[in-house]
Symmetry: C2
């Protein structure tokens, strides 16, 4: 489409920032991309990117339709009794993946990560710095244990929402939470299974 | 390539059967495909398909490069003390995914299952009938528990071999097995976590 001379409106500018962000995250990875770089690519001032999104992490969440914003969610789940950490985690994930719209972003990310190494690197960097580093900071838990807990939750998303294997696909959230919470607790709790 | 008049050799025939199988599994799903149908599609006698592969399950394993043959593997893992079932499962999966060649088939399946519903249905039907039904038959365990165990193992494959998140990607098999075995045991064992 030919550009008109008029000044772009806020929705249009936001869309251009997101398109520029997708290109840069794809080309340079999550770690290699900066707010400044995204602004340059979109032809706007960095202050405008900050104004719309706040942080690079939030640009990523919006641009990639990541199903939740780790910046909000992780502290919320981490707070509360340590003995119920597993249950809070599982309930949160089951609720997020249960929403078809949240799921479409996750599906697209798994698809591209399994198709090319660059997309895998981008997702790995984001999960590492936005999710794992943040949980580590709040809990002091070893990284390997957190990753095995994340693996359990991602595997459930794969079996329940992508492959739709029964009875898991139709099981209710409470039943899944009751079976899986002790596992997350095993990894994230005291380690006494 | 134009067909020559000569009779195809065994390698060529085997390749044609596998190509026919991939088309039918993709179009009709695993459940909807028969040895007879594959033979018809490949223009050979059903006895020849049996001769090369034995069962429909083995045709699928060969055609889709499924990383292991459930018909051989499941009874092998299931045998032995019930208290060590979790450990046997984890060790087997870590060994299989550790082999780059086995992995390429798994990657291709995850990629296509996350891209289209027909490929997801095909994989779901195969996993259900070749893997889950067989484990259920040997152990009498509830299907939901088996699927959550499978979800843990698939999630590890995703994080360790596709996303390559560290330290999980470089952790040695023994360390992973020690942390994950109690989880598989929780699902497949007595259920007392």
């Amino acid at each position: 489409m030919a550009r008109t001379g008029r000044r772009p409106g806020p929705t249009e500018t936001r869309g251009e920032i997101l398109a520029a962000a997708r290109r840069l995250f794809g080309d340079l990875g999550y770690d290699g991309t900066t707010i400044r770089g995204i602004a340059r690519e979109a032809g706007v001032d960095p202050a405008l990117v900050h104004h719309f999104f706040g942080t690079k992490e939030r640009v990523f969440v919006a641009a990639m339709e990541f199903p939740f914003d780790p910046e909000d969610i992780v502290p919320e789940i981490i707070e509360g009794p340590r003995a119920e950490l597993g249950e809070r985690f599982v309930r949160f994930f089951v609720r997020v993946w249960g929403d078809p719209q949240s799921r479409s972003g996750f599906l697209a990310l798994v698809r591209s990560a399994s198709s090319n190494e660059r997309a895998a690197a981008m997702l790995r960097q984001f999960v590492t710095s936005a999710l794992l580093a943040r949980v580590a900071e709040h809990t002091g838990l070893p990284r390997l244990r957190m990753e095995l807990a994340a693996a359990q939750l991602m595997g459930i998303a794969l079996m329940r929402y992508i492959l739709k294997v029964e009875p898991l696909a139709s099981a209710d959230d409470d039943e899944v939470a009751a079976l899986v919470a002790p596992v997350i607790q095993h990894y994230l709790g005291t380690g006494e299974v």
